[in-house]
């Protein structure tokens, strides 16, 4: 048993601790090098909740070199079919609204699942991320508005990673 513990400890110590414990940007994004501009894909964030019906809100981000906009694909759930007209990004001092385009709508586990896409100016998004204010998403439908938010601590950690990714993106 003692030998096994020593062996496992030896194996684990071969990995730098930073690779496992510290903030590793690899778990936040992936980059594809290609002709015409690299693509940065920021993996889905699953920390947000719809403050009206407490359902999940997911979003991911795609940015491409040579383009001044960022694509946000997002998923939300509703009791009734409520297609999004627009998505509003809100911080304490700023507000950014973009028309939503439907990717698909489905009925899953007694709820309507809406998947949509918006394009926002990259500079505006970067500015919002760089502030200390947690980001909120407001989904605007024909007759309702859903605000989706996360805990400030979770957002801060995510925003820190996002700022670094944006820095890598803009400095190339």
């Amino acid at each position: 048993m003692k030998t096994l513990v020593i062996f496992l400890f030896g194996v684990l110590s071969m990995f730098p601790l930073s690779q496992i414990a510290a903030q590793n940007l690899d778990k936040y994004y992936t980059r594809r090098v290609q002709e015409g501009g690299d693509i940065f894909f920021i993996f889905p964030n699953e920390d947000f909740k719809n403050s009206v019906n407490r359902s999940n809100f997911f979003f991911d981000l795609t940015i491409r070199e040579g383009s001044d906009s960022a694509t946000i694909n997002f998923t939300y759930y509703s009791k009734d079919p409520a297609p999004a007209i627009s998505l509003v990004l809100i911080t304490h001092d700023d507000r950014l609204e973009a028309p939503a385009k439907k990717i698909y709508i489905d009925f899953v586990k007694k709820k309507w699942e809406h998947r949509c896409s918006v394009k926002v100016p990259f500079a505006g998004l970067q500015k919002m991320i760089s502030t200390n204010s947690p980001l909120q998403f407001e989904i605007v439908t024909a007759d309702q508005k859903f605000v989706c938010e996360t805990k400030a601590g979770k957002w801060q950690k995510y925003a820190d990673a996002l700022s670094k990714i944006f820095y890598i993106f803009t400095s190339d």
Partner: protein, 102 residues
């Protein structure tokens, strides 16, 4: 109910752990990326993901099909497909498919 949960837990611990399909396996920790498929389509502007997860090798859920990943980003022309697999001491294993295309 308690007995049933206890039995399930013991069965899970004795029979299996949450392992994930990878070209290389880490018994304690796995975090890898690898290719899954490539097509002759050119370029990609969209990326879609889909994932599945296993807990203790007892419960496994999710849809990590290429179709689900492509659907999530509205991709109709697939350029290539990668996957990522993570596993932490056989407790939680995640398999994520990434589809690149237009």
């Amino acid at each position: 109910m308690k007995k049933l949960l206890g039995l399930l837990l013991i069965a899970g611990l004795m029979s299996s752990c949450a392992f994930v399909a990878t070209p290389v396996t880490g018994l304690v920790y796995t975090d890898i990326k690898a290719p899954l498929a490539v097509t002759s389509n050119e370029g990609s502007t969209k990326v879609g993901t889909a994932k599945m997860q296993s807990i203790l090798g007892i419960v496994a859920t999710g849809d990590a099909s290429i179709e689900a990943a492509a659907k999530s980003a509205g991709i109709t022309k697939i350029h290539h497909v990668d996957y990522e697999a993570t596993s932490i001491i056989g407790v939680i294993a995640t398999f994520t498919v990434l589809v690149y295309g237009e």
